[in-house]
């Protein structure tokens, strides 16, 4: 299902190219280096084990695009520490978004729930950036159509504040106070060829800086 998209002019691929590789923001400041990202994920993995009694019945579900590789990395770390396999999957939330009518139709991401299902399990949703909280709201709706977990928790690599809904994360990699005009960009080796979290000056509304405010930026930066 990962067809190489040719984001041509006027194709939805161009409008919502969530599979596209991102290049680092020009003029951005790196706030997490690759080794720091790895350390942060190790800590989150330990916190998950601590709070879920050793991670029994934990299912990690990443939200596309960059939540998915993060969920896989967390699962690998859980397996490493506890010695039992931790199931990981992905949960696409596109059909549950509350802003569908504001933009042209979006390309769907992939949903794959581990064979063991989510009924009665502790589901940990994984995303790269927590911003307005609307993505997580949509994810909770999507989840309830798939099954009935015993509990749902949220792990994010970066919490940049500016919540618009009563939602908070259970596991946070880094709290990053930002202004709403700034952009937070998460790059991961699996999708972008390198690991980094970058904060850059906004440019989408001012229009002065560059094209970084375009849809297709990673994380919640552009939302």
């Amino acid at each position: 299902m990962t067809h190489a998209l040719q984001p041509g002019a006027g194709s939805p691929a161009a409008a919502g190219a969530r599979l596209a590789r991102s290049v680092p923001l020009p003029g951005g400041k790196i706030v997490l280096e690759p080794d720091e990202i790895s350390r942060v994920l190790t800590r989150i993995a330990h916190e998950i084990l601590e709070r879920t009694n050793g991670g029994a019945d934990v299912v990690l579900l990443g939200i596309p695009t960059r939540g998915v590789p993060l969920a896989r990395r967390l699962a690998a770390k859980l397996t490493q520490v506890e010695g039992r396999p931790a199931p990981a999957g992905s949960l696409d939330i596109t059909m549950y978004r509350d802003d569908l009518r504001l933009r042209p139709a979006r390309r769907l991401g992939h949903t794959s729930v581990p064979a063991s299902g989510i009924d009665g399990k502790t589901v940990v949703l994984v995303d790269d950036v927590l911003y307005s909280g609307r993505t997580v709201r949509a994810a909770l709706d999507a989840l309830s159509d798939i099954g009935r977990p015993r509990a749902v928790q949220l792990a994010v690599l970066v919490d940049r504040g500016h919540r618009e809904l009563p939602i908070r994360a259970d596991y946070v990699g880094k709290n990053l106070p930002t202004s709403q005009r700034e952009l937070v960009q998460v790059l991961l080796a699996e999708t972008d060829g390198q690991d980094a979290v970058i904060v850059g000056p906004g440019g989408s509304r001012a229009g002065g800086q560059d094209s970084t405010g375009q849809p297709g930026q990673p994380g919640e930066a552009s939302r």
Binding site: S11, M95, R101, L108, D145
Partner: protein
Amino acid sequence: MKRHLISAADLSRDDALLILDTAEELAQVADRPIRKLPTLRGRTVVNLFYEDSTRTRISFEAAAKRLSADVINFSAKGSSVAKGESLKDTALTLEAMGADAVVIRHPASGAPRRLANWVRGSVVNAGDGTHEHPTQALLDAFTMRRRLGRLEGLRVTIVGDVLHSRVARSNVLLLRTLGADVTLVAPPTLLPVAVSTWPCEVSYDLSGTLPKSDVVMMLRVQAERMTAAYFPTVREYSRRYGLDAGRMALLPDHAIVMHPGPMNRGVEIAAEVADSSRSTIVEQVANGVSVRMAVLYLLLSGAGSALDEIGLGAAPAETQIAGVTAR
């Protein structure tokens, strides 16, 4: 993708692949405990059927309902059409009721195109006369890709009543766009005059073509549209252009047998072929729902058309003139 889906020729390669990829994701919904998505909540889809149909209408209805759209079914029998209401007046009535999409089947070729000029919503062609049936072609392509893993370079043989077949026309156009090689096999009387201008090969020898086919698609003999004698007898047609077990054995091992339905068992396809493991006929019906969900999602969920850059953030229904499909 444009705002309407009237012809398979409206779809670029990217558009067609986007629909197939979207359908692939939506096919999962059928396996879930809750087979419904909230995406088109509050939108209205009208099924406007001027011609008999079971599977297409039910398929569109199921697709729209799985996306939480409201569905209004309108069939010409027992409606004001029976009293002589014109297509335009019916369209204006639907318009006044606030239809976001109109799915139309009509015995006259070109009716959906006319309708698109009269309504503000999206128009989806569900079969117009002997012209086109684009969602059938999409679900056929989807079925081929699922079964055989690719479309590029696939050798597809379409057999039978091409003259009266909107399915054949849409399939030839779409499969060409997607890089498959199509061969039509039919008696000369059942081929359109202009078939030489179509992007496909033509043959009159079914047995000779089968060994070189990855897919064989049997078309229904449309007796209801036949106003003259196109072949001497049904038995002779069946012997020369029907697919029986003996002919099926000529196909390569991986090849699949398709039929858009409804079938005339014993005419164009033998019962044992239709029920064999190579036949995708039941699968095609299930895939039809996924593909139609994808089409409705891409046409209706966003602001305006799936790819209309002008429509970004604006109220599309008011700013676009019906029929002008900006790309």
